[in-house]
């Protein structure tokens, strides 16, 4: 492996990891804050991709980066409202319900866009490569890393420095007490769900020029990022980023060195990590 190939693989792994992070950060936020496993996340991600095909063709790629996540989040608002009667009941019910929602969303995508797999053509300056230290990198990978990195930083800031983030952390440990501070817990849930879904939608936008997706992948794509969630820790929002990068790199280098085992690598890593610490290898082991 030449040095330049190594770095190209590295960047490809990091950019894939960062885009997966966008999907998993929302899942993690929704699990932590709302105690709800949202199997629909993948479908919202794919919806983001398909909306981008249509919207970017009309108003361009950059406006879609903002408009599509907002549209996806708005849809999330209504879906969250619809799932509310199941809140506070067995977590399994809501898990299955979100799975049903994901199924419906995928079929709705088929209704509007059909089965054909598309690929968005990029604005010209995001095409092609850029030379850094004499090594050629695809510009779009760098772009994905920058955008996702900004979102990751904003997400960290929100959780750790804002009142919304404090409320999110508070609600994890004591939901009734949050209501007793005069906070409308249902309203807070709506906001958290919309943020979580919106970031997934942004991931979908970034994905649109990269891989052609079939509508039905809304169901499987969540399975693909599941290892990230388990490695980072189901309820550890800070674990998402390192876990996403780890899995991205394992995928990228696995494809080069162990192509015959490529498909099982992330899952195997997940199983090993869950034996090491089921709450996530980036979670402190002693009580919280």
């Amino acid at each position: 492996m030449t040095v330049s190939f190594f770095f190209q693989t590295l960047i490809s792994g990091v950019s894939n990891g960062m885009v997966s992070y966008l999907m998993i950060a929302g899942v993690s936020l929704i699990i932590s804050g709302m105690n709800m496993v949202n199997f629909g996340q993948g479908a919202f991600y794919v919806l983001g991709t398909y909306l981008t095909y249509t919207i970017a063709a009309k108003i361009g790629f950059f406006p879609s980066l903002i408009l599509v996540p907002v549209l996806v989040a708005l849809l999330g608002y209504f879906i969250e409202k619809a799932t509310r009667p199941l809140f506070g009941k067995d977590m399994l019910y809501i898990m299955l319900l979100t799975y049903g929602v994901a199924y419906m969303l995928c079929d709705i995508i088929v209704m509007f866009w059909g089965y054909s797999i598309r690929l968005l053509s990029l604005p010209s300056f995001l095409n092609g490569g850029v030379k850094i230290f004499g090594i050629n990198f695809p510009v779009y990978y760098i772009f994905e890393i920058v955008i996702s990195g900004l979102i990751a930083a904003a997400f960290w800031y929100m959780i750790n420095k804002t009142k919304l983030g404090m409320l999110t952390r508070a609600i994890i440990s004591d939901r009734p007490m949050v209501a007793n501070l005069g906070v409308n817990v249902n309203g807070l849930f709506s906001i958290l769900f919309m943020i979580g879904i919106g970031i997934a939608g942004l991931g979908g936008v970034l994905n649109a020029p990269m891989t052609g997706m079939s509508p039905k992948e809304g169901l499987s794509v969540f399975g693909n990022v599941m290892p990230i969630l388990c490695i980072g820790g189901l309820r550890n929002m800070d674990g998402c980023l390192p876990a996403a990068l780890l899995v991205g790199l394992v995928n990228a280098f696995g494809a080069v060195y162990l192509p015959q085992y490529y498909n099982i690598l992330p899952a195997a890593l997940m199983v090993i990590c869950m034996f090491i610490n089921p709450r996530g290898i980036f979670t402190k082991k002693e009580g919280r």
Binding site: G88, K163, M166, L167, R169, A170, I172, S173, D174, P176, M177, A179, N180, L181, G182, V183, N184, V185, R288
Partner: protein, 237 residues
């Protein structure tokens, strides 16, 4: 009367826990709910705060009025926004938030637009909390947690505070400090309803007391006139 309960009944699942609670609190005073363990003091507090939510198989009957407004059927957060701060039994400090975050998360402008209580004034009132501002909630001592729970209530700039068993599990010296604190709060114009097991503490900080027995108000008297006989009869002391 700022707060008035008339014939309040409360049900949790199939058990009938409150059986006719009557009480009235006058603006600017401190009133105490006394009674043996399990007579419904905490449930009365929770009922006022709208926590016996019908969705969770609970039910409230009777009338609870705050400044003339009926509270039964209202959501907890809406009741808080009328200007009632609740300091629950067991303190319920958020363990993963720092002291300062526990305060900031509760900050709210009062119904009258006042923000007299803010980080600065609360730290002045509780200097110890300022020293512990960066410690996580679960690293605080019992006394510190209790101060923080009260301080968190103050951050809401309430008209009235409900203090549920704030002396529970605390050393006598801390209990004395809390008594001074409650007296200071009264001087600041906050109306207070206290549920207590500690009668000595209650007598120090409240002007009026109501005694509950099996979820029903059975006695009402000025705290200063609470005779040894009455205490023995209802409280076993």
């Amino acid at each position: 009367m700022i707060l008035e309960l008339k014939d309040v009944h409360g049900y949790y699942d199939k058990s009938h826990i409150l059986n006719g609670v009557d009480l009235a609190v006058e603006q600017g005073t401190s009133v105490c709910l006394l009674g043996r363990n399990g007579v419904g003091k905490s449930t009365t507090m929770k009922t006022i705060m709208g926590m016996l939510n019908p969705k969770e198989h609970c039910k409230t009957e009777g009338s609870i009025r705050f400044e003339g407004k009926e509270l039964t059927g209202m959501a907890s957060h809406a009741i808080v926004r009328l200007g009632i701060a609740y300091v629950p039994q067991g303190r319920h400090i958020f363990p993963t938030l720092t002291t300062e975050e526990n305060l900031r998360v509760a900050a709210r402008v009062g119904v009258d637009g006042s923000s007299k209580w803010n980080l600065e004034s609360v730290y002045e009132f509780f200097p110890r909390l300022k020293e512990r501002r960066d410690s996580k909630g679960d690293k605080l001592s019992g006394g510190e947690k209790q101060m923080l729970a009260v301080a968190r209530g103050l951050m809401q700039n309430p008209k009235m505070m409900l203090l549920d068993e704030i002396t529970e599990g605390l050393a006598p010296i801390i209990v004395d400090q809390l008594a001074v604190m409650v007296q200071n709060l009264l001087e600041e114009g906050v109306t207070i309803l206290i549920a207590e097991q500690n009668v000595k503490f209650a007598m120090k900080v409240s002007s009026d007391c109501y005694i509950l027995e099996r979820g029903k108000t059975v006695h009402h008297q000025a705290t200063s006139q609470l005779t040894a006989e009455t205490r023995k009869k209802y409280l076993g002391l």
